[in-house]
Amino acid sequence: MDETDISFFKDGLRLDGRRADQLRPVKIEVGVLARADGSCYIEMGGNKVIAAVYGPREVHPRHLQEATRAIVRYRYNMASFSVEDRKRPGPDRRSQELSKVSREALEPVILTSFFPRSVIDVFIEVLQADAGTRTAGINAAAVALADAGIPMKSMISSCAAGKVADTIVLDPMKEEDNFGQADLPIAMTPSGDITLLQMDGDLTRDEFQRAVEMAMKGARNIYELQRAALVKKYSQMVEQPVRGDVHVCD
């Protein structure tokens, strides 16, 4: 397109040395909070996000309770220091919309009918933001739900694809998100059912499909990492059942 052509790619690689279809480094830790029923800390590139799950527990305020199933609440919150210009604390319109679509990304796999009249609360704190906080939050939330022992039909994994300099790229970082041509986050089950799909920017019909396919590939990779993190924690627990710092033992 314009000056962006020169700056987004160097020798066929992206600004941080990745190929177009490569994820940023991902680190997932399970069970990082002592008080929560389930928790997860995730790093995806420069994003640092922590998720806590409480519940199933009693619903307050009561009038929100459902007679036949648990309700799911999801609160996406950005720390004021997580971005370049201080973010005013508290919910804004963006975070309320993200909370809604993220909740709807997870709800299809949660077996809410097992827990009538109760609530499953998911809290997301974005500690450091670097493009892709909603996908990082969903990935962390899904792992935290599993860690809390909430019955689920499957995992949910989330990843974005974008378009920069007319090229479809996986997992855009901040520069690519800010100055790129499109952003398309998805969330899905391991079998490829899409539970979140958003898009802004400019894509042709064909590019849209390629972006969805690339994001799905990324989400499959993330699924393996989520699974490995859960297996790691729970296989350790079998070997060392009484470790003081592992809260689920009490």
Partner: protein, 260 residues
């Protein structure tokens, strides 16, 4: 998704049984829109306005403009602010008070269409770089919720923008002029229910569906925004099918109502 709209089991069964026969509750085809009407310049006090009806759904969009300060990171660009009010007059399930997440999502999807399609030439709205730019307020007023508010509100927004006059004289900034519009984004929404895709869902169809997908397309047939909503799943093939039909529908609506 109107989560709060309750529907009786018997009605749900009725819709489901119709669907098995390939029919819809109001006799439409699955990809067919209800009758659309757009009335422009209905509010004289607004810089631009449009009353959109899709079937019995009614949405009024008003545009107000005033000079103000630009954002520090875009000193030579005008500002768009989109708001949606789900006033309690429009539905038994709307309540007074600050916007809930349904209203916020609606406003943000309408905003996404206008912003990402670059329909408004924001640079043309700069008065004094870094100091003064035009601020465009797009205010969406839902009057009657009979389903598919996103499409109606998005259509209202672009229709109102197309008839907007910049009130320069009122602020001593020269003569009034027509707001330059460069694209016509159209939002098209489908729901998924039992593997059937239904476009332009009515309020009962929305109530039974788990999943809704909105595709916003531009005049050249590209996609400038999308939003999946509701706690359900979509297969990739369903997404692509919605896109194909959505773009066709959008083209028809654009040609019929908005192109001069």
């Amino acid at each position: 998704m109107s989560v709060t709209n309750v529907i009786s089991e018997i009605k749900k069964d009725f819709i489901y049984n119709l669907l098995l026969k390939g029919e819809r509750i109001d006799g439409r085809k699955f990809d067919e829109y209800r009758e659309i009407s757009i009335q422009r310049d209905v509010i004289r006090k607004a810089e631009g306005s449009a009353l959109v009806k899709i079937g019995s759904s009614q949405v009024l969009v008003g545009i107000k403009m005033q000079p103000g300060e630009p954002f520090p990171d875009t000193p030579n660009k005008g500002v768009i602010i989109t708001n949606a009010e789900l006033v309690p007059l429009a539905s038994p399930s709307f309540e007074p008070g600050p916007p809930n997440e349904v209203g916020i999502e609606l406003a943000r999807v309408v905003d996404r269409g206008v912003r990402e399609s670059k329909a408004v030439d924001l640079e043309a709205l700069c008065i004094v770089p870094g100091k003064q730019v035009w601020i465009v307020f797009i205010d969406v007023h839902i009057l009657d919720d009979c389903g598919n508010l996103i499409d109606a509100a998005s259509l209202g927004a672009i229709a109102a923008l197309l008839s907007t006059k910049v009130p320069a004289a009122r602020f001593g900034l020269g003569e009034d002029y027509v707001l330059p519009i460069r694209d016509i984004p159209i939002a098209t929404t489908a729901i998924e229910f039992n593997d059937v895709l239904m476009f332009d869902p009515g309020v009962d169809e929305e109530a039974i569906a788990n999943t809704r997908l909105t595709i916003i397309s531009t005049a050249n047939g590209n996609i400038c925004g999308s939003q999946k909503s509701g706690a359900g799943m979509l297969k990739p093939e369903q997404v692509y099918r919605i896109i194909d039909i959505a773009c066709e529908n959008a083209k028809g609506i654009r040609e019929k109502f908005l192109e001069a």
